[in-house]
Symmetry: C2
Subunit: 265 residues, 2 copies
């Protein structure tokens, strides 16, 4: 069993109730990564609506940081299920307090790679072997999740404060060889450095208020290419847009988050 | 009292429970507009968390079409409230069935128009008097909501199927002179024609699966400029991005929705 599957296992403990363990291997600094916590809830929801295996639209509001290396319970509920969609809600609780609230639509993206009527082509960037590994030093916090994920960044975007715009581009895959699937794209959508890093310098932890991810198709095997950009930052609140493409160049996910950033000055 | 305020009035009928009437004046074809239904829930939530008057991030999943000219009940609940944010949930029910599920973060955008560190400038388009009113004929369905909203579209984008890309740009305001506020931007984010209209021709009703709107600042008085664009349409599912600016050119909202479209051919 691969690390991601092992460390996002959830167990049914009653109607709409699941238990799991928040593993410490997916943290940014002292906090479990939001995309990882989200993956725990998706694992529970998958047991609730197995006929709709793919997350089409997932929104999560983070209420409090998660607690690493501690148990959690997850309430995971199907609100409505139809032929093509299941609409669901989930809450992850640790130590008696909700850590996030999630709402999503699950469906079936199928194996088909139908031609897109409209799509967004991937940017041209250096191959993974010519990119630079994401490192803790770049962001100024410890990054346990780099033991689990191989993240390579565009060499021209890795110098803090040196960029002309708030953009991060790079490659991502699981370190242990697990193939990316629709569910893991939710994780990948929240594990690149904050896109404001190159523009503003080390900004530490950029807490996400709300994250929405749309999965557009199941990814082909291989590296996932990600590009994250912030074009709207005001009053310490930023909107970051992310795009993910698979190794065949197909757009596989779009993400957007509202996050807090302490702007220098 | 202005029409929008009158027709989104909600009344407390018990703990976390409100009643309202779904007025028939805000429909697209036979269905109440999603942005209007959403506004009913925001009105209820405003009573629950008056200290945080502005919606910062709102996500709604539409489960079934609303029923025009019928009563509704709204469950509106504050999940967590802190110094700067209240995280809330709401469900709108008609005829015993949930019509949508909503999750949002409310806050206080203040009167301040602090300078943005990063922002997106508005496009240059003809003045409202040189744009064309949105009309029912353009989309092939009756549009009662045009009795309530004044919508003027870029003259080069109003011919069905003639555009080179899926984009709709135009102006919007209330017909009765009510000034736009943060809450009404949620409505404005969902009342332009589908952006695929110019590219694909009349597409009828484009049902929204999920809509997320981020309000970035309180708008100045005057027309609101909106631009909506679809760059990702595959397997009958499109991601449409919207931007709204106020009359001073400040970005006031960003929106994204997952919608279903029957592509011709």
């Amino acid at each position: 069993m691969f690390q991601f599957d092992e460390e996002t296992r959830t167990q049914s403990i009653g109607p709409d109730q699941f238990s799991a363990h928040v593993h410490p291997n997916w943290s940014i600094g002292a906090n479990p990564n939001g995309g990882y916590l989200l993956s725990l809830a998706m694992s529970a929801l998958h047991q609730q609506a197995p006929q709709h295996p793919d997350p089409l639209s997932v929104t999560v509001h983070y209420l409090r940081p998660g607690l690493p290396d501690q148990p959690c319970t997850i309430e995971a509920k199907v609100l409505r299920t139809g032929r093509t969609l299941s609409t669901c809600r989930a809450t992850l609780v640790q130590d008696g307090a909700a850590r996030f609230e999630l709402m999503c639509a699950l469906g079936d993206l199928g194996a088909s790679n139908a031609t897109s009527t409209l799509s967004i082509p991937p940017p041209a960037i250096p191959a993974p072997e010519d990119c630079l590994p994401r490192s803790a030093g770049q962001q100024g916090v410890a990054l346990p999740l780099l033991e689990r994920l191989d993240i390579r960044l565009h060499p021209e975007e890795t110098q803090a404060g040196a960029a002309k715009r708030a953009q991060v581009t790079g490659w991502i895959r699981f370190k242990d060889g697990r193939a990316a699937d629709a569910r893991s794209l939710l994780l990948f959508a929240d594990t690149f450095p904050p896109s404001v890093f190159g523009l503003l310098g080390p900004v530490g932890w950029v807490p996400t208020v709300e994250l929405t991810v749309h999965i557009r198709r199941r990814p082909a095997p291989g590296w996932i290419l990600g590009q994250f950009r912030t074009e709207d930052l005001a009053d310490g609140r930023m909107i970051e847009n992310g795009l993910l493409w698979d190794s065949t160049g197909q757009l596989v996910a779009q993400a957007r988050q509202l996050a807090l950033v302490r702007t220098p000055g």
